[in-house]
């Protein structure tokens, strides 16, 4: 049966496919094409002059290498910390409450606005920092540069490695490790010759994900990297907002595309084929023996506790900073900062909630609709649609933001400064999480389930409503959650899209930071963390209520 025949027989599918293609063309293909055109076309003819200008500027070349260096270091550091946590959680036979603590410690950085650790770093290690100035009495400590950016990004992104590695460790057949032990290997030898080699693809994957995250990170280096350590995303931003050089910024963002694309291809065509272990989400059961000795267990726990305490300290510090007059100078209790954000800042809070509130259901719907269509229906261009839908998700936010800015600033489609553009940006950038979750869930649902329903006399509609829909509902909620969280916390793309009429909390935090009003910045950050936690709790509850018993679990609501 050809795809065309399916479309003729099923007009609803045909309409949905056409609408989705139009939207993808408008919000994914068109902006990216405009960006390329702006950089590579000069007065109507192809020209690499724009790129050449960037590539020969020594300062920008340094930014490029800095970005790569930072990415590699964050990749290595974050993977190590993530593996430490994943291994401890999967192999140390921890009591339930301790696992909950680990999960919470890991969740916190994932759902925080991007500046949180950066702000806390400044509070702790800045010239008047709690640790450098108050505790150690150092005068004129400089927090800005590679070390603090690295520490802050590792702290922010290691949970990605944790979420990649923990299911992998849990899925390793415990008998394989037991076998090695029974053949006479010591615990350390089992770890070195069996456990670790089986994790190599996961470690590589975690490294690539972290490398990409660091490459795309805009907020942390903007605050912490300083003048001595320029990186590409901040250079592109400064080129546009500081020098009003849209073309130069676009060219810089395109340079960022090269390593980002390399990572994507490596992941898709190299790492994904080297997995020995199939991660099904179903654990292979308890370890068959105590795979770590009591001493090692204690050491692992201590290391995890150290990182978790550091995270906790950062957040407590943030809360504290929002409740005192001026951290480092005047520690008198005050609610002044909250008064400020709920008066002067009220509009931006409202804007953010409206945008996130609209983007959330649209993104969730977009996710399961597209995911369902490309998995279960055959129509022309199905594979292409799946790939195109992933583009905005895979690209660093800076590229997407600049592309949107260039594409929608001028006629024919003038959307710059509107809430619609910001919402579209979030839906097409973070909706793909829901797509991936839907596809993953649908692929686990055996075809015979739907056939059994049809065999019992149910039509296509009833089968979808009674069988398929309940089983992919978790993906819908996962999509909702991610779109909402990112709408509250993202900045790299949308910083180019805000206007006087529509702005975002994250952008406001950045403004506060540059004006050195750290109190309100801390108060805003606390507010975002609280809102996000409340929403996650609600969605978690909904997931439990609606998840069909036995339906596959969405591996991670926050992955990617």
């Amino acid at each position: 049966m050809t795809g065309h025949a399916v479309l003729r027989r099923d007009p609803a599918v045909a309409v949905a496919v056409v609408v989705l293609w139009l939207l993808l063309a408008l919000f994914v293909v068109y902006p990216f094409a405009t960006l390329l055109a702006r950089v590579l076309v000069d007065r109507g003819s192809f020209s690499v002059e724009g790129l050449a200008t960037v590539l020969t500027d020594r300062h920008q070349v340094r930014a490029f290498w800095n970005s790569l260096l930072l990415g590699v270091l964050v990749g290595v550091g974050g993977t190590i910390v993530g593996f430490l946590f994943a291994f401890t959680a999967a192999r140390c036979r921890l009591p339930r409450w301790l696992l909950t603590v680990i999960d919470a410690a890991v969740l916190l950085p994932l759902v925080s606005p991007p500046f949180t650790t950066a702000i806390a770093m400044i509070f702790s290690f800045g010239p008047r920092g709690l640790i450098t100035y108050e505790l150690l009495g150092l005068k004129g400590a400089t927090v800005y540069g590679l070390a603090s950016t690295l520490a802050s990004e590792v702290m922010t992104y290691f949970p990605i490695a944790y979420l990649t590695l923990r299911p992998l460790l849990a899925a390793i057949d415990s008998n394989v490790e037991g076998m090695a032990l029974s053949l006479g290997a010591s615990r350390w030898r089992v770890f070195r010759t069996v456990t670790l080699p089986l994790c190599v693809p996961g470690l590589a994957n975690a490294f690539l994900l972290l490398f990409a995250a660091s490459l795309a990170d805009f907020a942390t280096p903007l605050i912490l990297a300083g003048n001595q350590f320029p990186v590409l995303p901040t250079q592109a931003y400064l080129q546009i907002t500081g020098l009003f050089d849209l073309r130069g910024g676009a060219a810089l963002s395109l340079v960022l595309l090269v390593p980002a694309l390399a990572v994507f291809l490596l992941q898709r065509y190299w790492v994904s084929r080297r997995y020995y272990v199939t991660v099904t989400g179903k654990g292979a059961g308890q370890a068959p023996f105590d795979s770590v000795s009591p001493a090692i267990r204690a050491a692992l726990l201590a290391a995890c506790a150290f990182v978790a305490l550091a995270i906790l300290y950062f957040y407590v510090l943030l809360l504290y900073a929002s409740l005192v007059v001026a951290l480092g100078a005047n520690h008198a209790f005050t609610l002044q900062h909250y008064r400020v954000i709920f008066t002067e800042g009220l509009k931006v809070i409202g804007d953010t909630l409206i945008i996130a509130g609209i983007a959330m259901p649209l993104g969730g719907l977009y996710g399961i609709l597209l995911g369902y269509l490309v998995t279960k229906k055959s129509f022309p261009g199905r594979r292409t649609m799946e790939v195109v839908s992933m583009v905005n998700y895979a690209l660093p936010g800076t590229i997407v933001g600049i592309a949107y800015l260039i594409a929608f600033n001028d006629p024919p489609i003038e959307l710059a400064g509107t809430a619609l553009l910001i919402i579209a940006c979030y839906v097409f950038r973070y909706g793909p999480t829901g797509i991936r979750a839907t596809i993953a869930l649908l692929q686990q649902i055996d075809k015979s389930l739907e056939e059994a329903s049809q065999g019992l006399g149910a039509g296509t509609g009833t089968t979808f409503r009674r069988i398929t829909l309940p089983l992919i509902l978790p993906a819908f909620f996962a999509g909702l959650g991610v779109v909402f969280i990112r709408s509250m916390t993202a900045i790299s793309a949308t910083i180019f899209l805000v206007s006087l009429s529509w702005s975002l909390i994250t952008v406001k935090i950045l403004e506060n930071m540059t004006e050195l009003s750290l109190g309100p910045a801390a108060a805003f950050s606390v507010l975002v963390v609280v809102i996000v936690f409340v929403v996650i709790a609600i969605i978690g509850r909904l997931l439990r209520v609606f998840r069909a018993p036995g339906a596959a679990q969405v591996t991670s609501m926050l992955g990617g």
């Binding site: 057949d173 008998n175 394989v176 037991g178 076998m179 090695a180 032990l181 029974s182 053949l183 006479g184 290997a185 010591s186 615990r187 030898r189 010759t193 069996v194 080699p197 089986l198 190599v200 020995y276 272990v277 068959p288 023996f289």
Partner: protein, 365 residues
């Protein structure tokens, strides 16, 4: 092989778990079992009977709450798995997926610091032994189930273990391969004379491979003995029904004599040799009547009359469902030639083979 052959003594080991619903559960309860040097002993029982837990405690993967385990003279109760000198074969083979066949087999030798040249020759030798010469560079994902099983076996025996342990090794294979592999395992074990403890829930498999079988139920060993002992002289209803098929018929002891007694059953009296010492004349008992111990002849040929309810012709044998009064009976006759099948509804005369009968005390539930 160079290593001395030793026996295994399991001395009253117990393992308890706390279960969310059931509270404290005994996974194994005072299990006692001796495996003689070079002997092949099987733990047989239904799932959840504690056989795998017992095996894993012998391996050192789990530790008993009470009791001791000895390998020869050595008490290994507190010795970790990697210093017990065991070879373990898992149900799912547990091959190292990142290593080739040769590297899998060589793993245990590498751990023991065997020189590379000797490793190569021993790996080649053992792969030849299990019929996998030439598979050295394959990976487990390229092998069939039977081949994976052979690699797992080779990997376990190449280290010349003091004790070889099998945990349901054939469950993942298809029926034909299962029969072939169990023969190979048995022959290999005999040839190498490795003391072996084997776990299965398949009574036929247990009978085919073992010198001796220990039947387990609810955490305890309920009977141990040769396959014939278990089959012909079960100590209780569990063993009688778990090992082979059986008709348990209510009866009464009518007389006892030297080496046997007589039992009233099915309206007649039969002589039985295997009578437990605990029963007395007049006691209600159950007669253990195996399906193949029932002789079937045309009506009038014996003391017990029955009718054929249904039958199934299976080639080498014919299975009958019979009814004798209101007692249902299951019988099996071997096909002795064409034209001897009794049709459904026929009235037949039954005879009971006295040598094959046994008695269980009590009238059962």
């Amino acid at each position: 092989m160079t290593r001395e052959t030793i026996g295994v003594a399991i001395e009253g080991i117990s393992k308890r778990y706390s279960h969310r619903v059931k509270g404290e559960v005994w996974a194994a309860r005072e299990v006692r079992l001796d495996v003689a040097p070079g002997e092949f002993v099987t733990l047989l029982g239904p799932s959840g009977c504690g056989k795998t837990t017992t095996l894993r405690m012998v391996a050192g993967f789990e530790h008993p709450d009470e009791g001791r385990i000895r390998f020869g003279e050595q008490d290994v109760t507190g010795v970790p798995a990697n210093r017990r000198g065991i070879g373990f074969v898992f149900q799912n083979y547990a091959l190292f997926p990142h290593l080739s066949v040769a590297e899998n087999v060589a793993y245990g030798l590498g751990v023991r610091g065997v020189p590379a040249a000797e490793i190569a020759s021993r790996v080649a030798e053992v792969l030849g032994l299990v019929g996998l010469a030439g598979y050295e560079h394959q990976f487990s994902s390229q092998l069939s189930g039977g081949e994976q099983q052979r690699v797992a076996l080779a990997r376990a025996i190449v280290i010349r273990p003091r004790v070889l342990l099998f945990d349901e090794p054939l469950s993942n294979l298809d029926a034909k391969l299962r029969v072939q592999m169990r023969t190979e395992i048995r022959e290999l074990q005999r040839r190498l004379a490795i003391t072996t403890l084997y776990v299965t829930h398949d009574q036929e498999e247990a009978m085919a491979v073992s010198d001796r079988i220990a039947v387990m139920n609810q955490g305890s060993v309920v009977q141990e003995g040769s396959a014939q002992d278990l089959y012909h002289r079960p100590v209780n209803e569990f063993v009688a029904t778990f090992v082979g098929r059986v008709n348990l018929l209510p009866g009464r002891i009518t007389g006892l004599s030297e080496g046997g007694g007589s039992v009233a059953v099915l309206g007649t009296t039969v002589r039985v040799r295997a009578i437990p010492a605990s029963v007395a004349v007049g006691d209600a008992v159950r007669l253990v009547l195996r399906p193949e111990a029932i002789g079937i002849a045309p009506a009038g040929g014996g003391p017990v009359a029955a009718s054929v309810v249904s039958h199934a012709f299976l080639g080498e044998k014919i299975e009958y469902d019979l009814r004798c009064g209101d007692v249902p009976l299951h019988a099996v006759r071997y096909n002795a030639g064409p034209g001897i099948v009794m049709p459904d509804g026929a009235t037949v005369a039954l005879s009971l083979a006295e040598d094959a009968l046994a008695v269980l005390p009590g009238s059962g539930s």
